[in-house]
């Protein structure tokens, strides 16, 4: 899997440098890295401002730390998002996040990793959705607007990660903050209800190994951006050049 260049990160950095240079003294304060940092943090966390395109939420998953057989992230996701229904056929169950076990046939080396919506910068589900129900927020979080989803499942056909689930039955025990229901398609939201309050997604918080790192890919000072700049990371199906929000390390 090759690492495509990052079409979202680069233009924005370029844009920032260009704007700072052109605007000169007026934007001087922005040119200071610490100042910029503050602006972005407040931008990201102030609930009234909403999702900002200055931020791009992302996740870095270190598969070396992720332990096989552990599903703390999956459990945390289910309880945060109220995925508590019992289905007759497990194939009809909603799986926002799942654990995948990989084995390299030649070396026998094994990897374990959580897989969920990769929050692409160019999400195929958003392109194909006939009603515009699949959408991407300014901060890169890909969501389904259940008010306009007609349940055609075309987005499921388009998703390369099998990240989307269709709700096959009537639900009654939703978490008040996470509406979800019959006949609509759903997927990982990066726990948007938490992120908007300045919290981390439930899975990241629950991981006992600290294998998942959440942060702003566009902020060069964030830990996630620094690690992605320094260490070798992978995008799953990087050949599709979707510029994923979720990156993996160690596979």
């Amino acid at each position: 899997m090759n690492e495509p260049r990052d079409p979202v990160d680069n233009p924005s950095r370029r844009g920032f440098v260009g704007a700072a240079a052109a605007a000169g003294a007026g934007l001087g304060v922005l040119a200071l890295a610490p100042g910029l940092h503050l602006v972005e943090v407040s931008e990201a966390n102030a609930p009234s401002a909403g999702a900002s395109s200055k931020v791009r939420w992302g996740m870095l998953i270190d598969t070396n730390k992720c332990s096989s057989g552990c599903d703390a992230c999956v459990k945390a996701c289910a309880s945060e998002n109220g995925i508590n229904e019992t289905v007759r056929d497990p194939r009809q169950a909603s799986q926002w996040i799942r654990k995948i076990e990989l084995k390299e046939p030649r070396s026998g080396r094994e990897h374990s990793l959580p897989m969920m919506c990769q929050h692409c910068a160019h999400p195929p589900c958003v392109d194909v959705c006939p009603t515009g129900a699949s959408m991407k927020r300014a901060d890169g979080i890909v969501l389904v607007d259940r008010h306009t989803c007609i349940g055609c499942r075309y987005c499921m056909l388009a998703c390369p990660y099998k990240a989307r689930s269709f709700v096959h039955l009537r639900l009654t025990e939703q978490n008040p903050e996470v509406p979800r229901g019959i006949g609509c398609v759903e997927s990982c939201t990066f726990c948007v209800q938490r992120v908007d309050k300045g919290l981390k997604p439930a899975c990241v918080e629950a991981c006992p190994e600290g294998a998942m790192l959440f942060g702003d890919l566009k902020d060069p000072n964030s830990e996630i951006a620094r690690r992605i700049a320094q260490e070798k990371t992978t995008q799953v199906r990087g050949d599709l050049r979707l510029d994923l929000g979720v990156r993996y390390q160690g596979i």
Binding site: G50, L169, R170, E173, Q174, R180, C184
Partner: protein
């Protein structure tokens, strides 16, 4: 504005005439306001505009991540949930009473939780959705 007024007059006429016309006699909604006087807007405005306010705030919250609108469904539910059932739906529920009476179908509750978080207990959640 004029159109709205005419619609309102029409609606009022229907509401007034309905009990006379309907031989079956649809029972008038019997609302309990659990926390009187604390609403985000006067009753009259809420009656006419609650759906618009909610539509507006839902799009802002979902698509733009702006969660500071005064009208928000969770807030409505928390305040209006019946003290007995903990819900705005079901017999005597704040939403259900009027919507049954006016025959306006709601599909909010296919996805949204009609019970207030304050009333939700572990027992209810563990029961799970009936398949």
């Amino acid at each position: 504005m004029a159109i709205m007024k005419r619609t309102l007059v029409g609606l009022a006429a229907i509401l007034l005439l309905a009990p006379i016309c309907a031989t079956a006699g649809v029972p008038k909604p019997n609302l309990t306001i659990e926390n009187p006087g604390q609403c985000i807007a006067p009753v009259q405005e809420m009656r006419v505009n609650h759906m618009k306010m909610l539509n507006h705030s839902r799009d802002r919250a979902l698509r733009q991540g702006v969660r500071t609108e005064k009208a928000n469904l969770i807030g409505c539910i928390d305040c209006h949930a019946s003290k007995e059932t903990g819900s705005v739906m079901g017999k005597g529920g704040f939403c259900e009473e009027c919507h049954t009476y006016t025959a306006v179908k709601l599909d909010c509750w296919d996805c949204h939780q009609p019970k207030s978080a304050r009333f939700r207990t572990g027992a209810a959640a563990a029961e799970g959705a009936k398949p």
